[in-house]
């Protein structure tokens, strides 16, 4: 049988989370179809068709799916489900919103946020904020799975799958889109950035994020993140939060500045390839996971870091 993967996108571009979840979907061992549901999202379907190992792209292009509200999107996925024995989505806020609804409509138990495919029916997933790893086996007739994208490499390009249009499903008429406020930024997205620099409560203010973190982020082409303490204090916006209750990231380089390293923060970044910690407190738990630790005042260290980067041409 076949696996259906729900694409993550914004109607214009295909989000990198899709290519990462595709790696997990392919590991199930069956051919993979990608479902692109949106409005005016033909370009997204074309991008999805180019991913390696995709057999077919299903395009549900209708105003009903413009904002991927859970109620109509779940109806659509359920209407397609009979042709598939696994339904997979990246564990983005869209995937986490819609997939349990799909699972319940199909009367199956979902496997959330898998970090490893052990066998086509057996998966690893973190519990207790990543402080334990559970290996679970499902015997459900249909598998419904969300994928923690930070745990998987992105599948590359090289495919040329056919694109097939599918009809919109029934509109349950339960919900409507009212508005959105998206942070506008030219920076890479946190969840797909190669380098992330995050600030903690020690930054002391939103202005200091702009003053000392931003110039380094600019030099490195890095995404900016924050600890929960910094977000709760109002120094950084909600969607910058890295951690168990925020975003889970795994960049090549993660620079933690003035972050003590609470368990909840570590759960969100400990799979980064290289971790740098800059903190005044040499006892800070962040140093226990950092590859390179610098005990220093961030307000002197960061400007100096900028100068050193300039010396090597960054």
């Amino acid at each position: 049988m076949t696996t259906l993967l729900l694409a993550k996108h914004d109607n214009k571009t295909l989000n990198d989370a899709t290519a990462k979840a595709l790696t997990a979907a392919r590991a199930l061992g069956a051919p993979v179809h990608i479902l692109v549901a949106g409005a005016g999202c033909g370009a997204v379907a074309e991008a999805a068709a180019k991913l390696e190992g995709v057999e077919k792209v299903l395009l549900a292009d209708a105003p009903l799916y413009e904002h991927r509200l859970a109620e109509p999107l779940a109806e659509l996925i359920v209407s397609l489900a009979s042709g598939y024995d696994a339904l997979v989505a990246p564990a983005t806020t869209t995937g986490k919103n819609v997939m349990p609804r799909v699972a319940a409509l199909l009367d199956v138990m979902q496997v959330s946020e898998i970090t490893k495919v052990v066998a086509p029916d057996t998966f690893e997933r973190p519990i207790y904020a990543g402080n334990a790893i559970q290996t679970v086996q499902t015997s459900e007739a249909k598998k419904v799975i969300t994928v923690r994208t930070a745990a998987f490499q992105a599948t590359g390009q090289g495919g040329s799958a056919p694109i097939e249009s599918v009809a919109a499903a029934r509109d349950p008429g339960l919900s409507s889109f009212k508005g959105e406020e998206l942070s506008k930024s030219d920076r890479p997205e946190l969840t797909s950035a190669r380098i992330i620099i995050s600030g903690g409560r020690a930054l002391g203010s939103a202005e200091n994020f702009t003053k000392v973190i931003e110039p380094i982020a600019d030099k490195l082409g890095a995404a900016m993140g924050a600890s929960r303490a910094a977000v709760d204090a109002g120094y950084a916006p909600n969607d910058w939060q890295v951690g168990q209750t925020g975003k889970v990231v795994a960049p090549e380089l993660y620079i933690a500045v003035g972050i003590s390293g609470a368990i909840q923060h570590l759960a969100g970044m400990k799979d980064s390839k290289v971790i740098v910690a800059i903190n005044k407190d040499e006892e800070a738990p962040i140093f226990q996971v950092a590859d390179y630790g610098l005990v220093a005042d961030l307000f002197t260290a960061l400007p100096e870091f900028g100068e050193e980067l300039a010396k090597i041409g960054r």
Partner: protein, 249 residues
């Protein structure tokens, strides 16, 4: 409007959990248990809606062992009106819980359900969405703002890249995110008062729901430890090491 708030008894969020050496799970004996923090936010939101005259009664429900009655009592001490304990010693999964809650909803007929977006033990993030699906209701997950309208509720949701606001037809299921509110502490008089508030008891069997978990947990292990690296003496050394040793600059 009646509000139903499902709550879960979990290991207190301040406890550093220990994985059992035999791989059979996480040590729960003699560990401090509390209400799931996201559920506390749900109780708080329900109380605020009642205080604002938007709700008439708040019913707290928990599915779990006898001790889950203490978790319900916490909600009653915060200000909820009464409780329902669905007693079971089975480690239920979200689908089973959603099915039990559906039965409770059929009995109680609430106009709104507010619950945590996920429990901090299994981190599944499923029950609210599943309950909405089983009831055929709308869902507003990861809420950071809830505004009751006329037969509708506007829910502002924390999504990747920002905030989204949706208008849901009532009845609806709302799941809470961290910044929806800051839960109050129960005052001593309210804790005393809560002891007199009623808690009804039932069981999944009495409700006709099979809560046998569908997923089989093969083992539970410690996450791979990350070894601490080196301390560098200066910013210059840091940049040099990142460039030459780690190769990430």
């Amino acid at each position: 409007m009646k509000i139903l708030v499902p709550v879960k008894r979990v290991v207190d969020y301040n406890v550093k959990i220990r994985v059992k050496a035999d791989g059979s799970g996480v040590e729960l004996a003699n560990v401090k248990m509390s209400m799931n923090p996201f559920d506390e936010i749900a109780v708080e939101e329900a109380i605020r809606l009642k205080e604002a005259g938007k709700a008439s009664e708040i019913v707290v429900v928990s599915i779990g062992p006898q001790q889950a009655a203490e978790t319900i009592r916490t909600g009653l001490a915060m200000g909820a009106d009464r409780g329902i304990l669905v007693k079971t010693d089975i480690a239920t999964d979200p689908l089973g819980v959603a099915k039990v809650l559906k039965k409770i909803v059929e009995q109680e007929a609430p106009g709104l359900i507010i619950m945590g977006k996920q429990a901090i033990d299994d981190d599944a993030n499923q029950t609210g969405q599943m309950l909405a699906a089983l009831l055929g209701w709308s869902q507003g997950t990861f809420a950071s703002k809830v505004v009751i309208g006329d037969g509708t509720v506007d829910v502002t949701r924390e999504i990747d890249g920002g905030l989204q606001t949706v208008t849901l037809k009532l009845p609806a299921v709302v799941t809470t995110d961290l910044r929806l509110n800051e839960p109050r502490y129960a005052s001593l008089p309210n804790i005393m008062k809560a002891k007199k508030k009623p808690i009804d008891e039932t069981t999944p069997e009495a409700l006709g729901v099979d809560v046998t978990p569908r997923l089989k947990v093969l083992k539970t292990t410690e996450p791979p430890a990350r070894k601490a690296g080196v301390k560098v003496g200066s910013v210059a050394e840091l940049v040099q090491k990142l460039k030459d040793e780690a190769g990430v600059l």
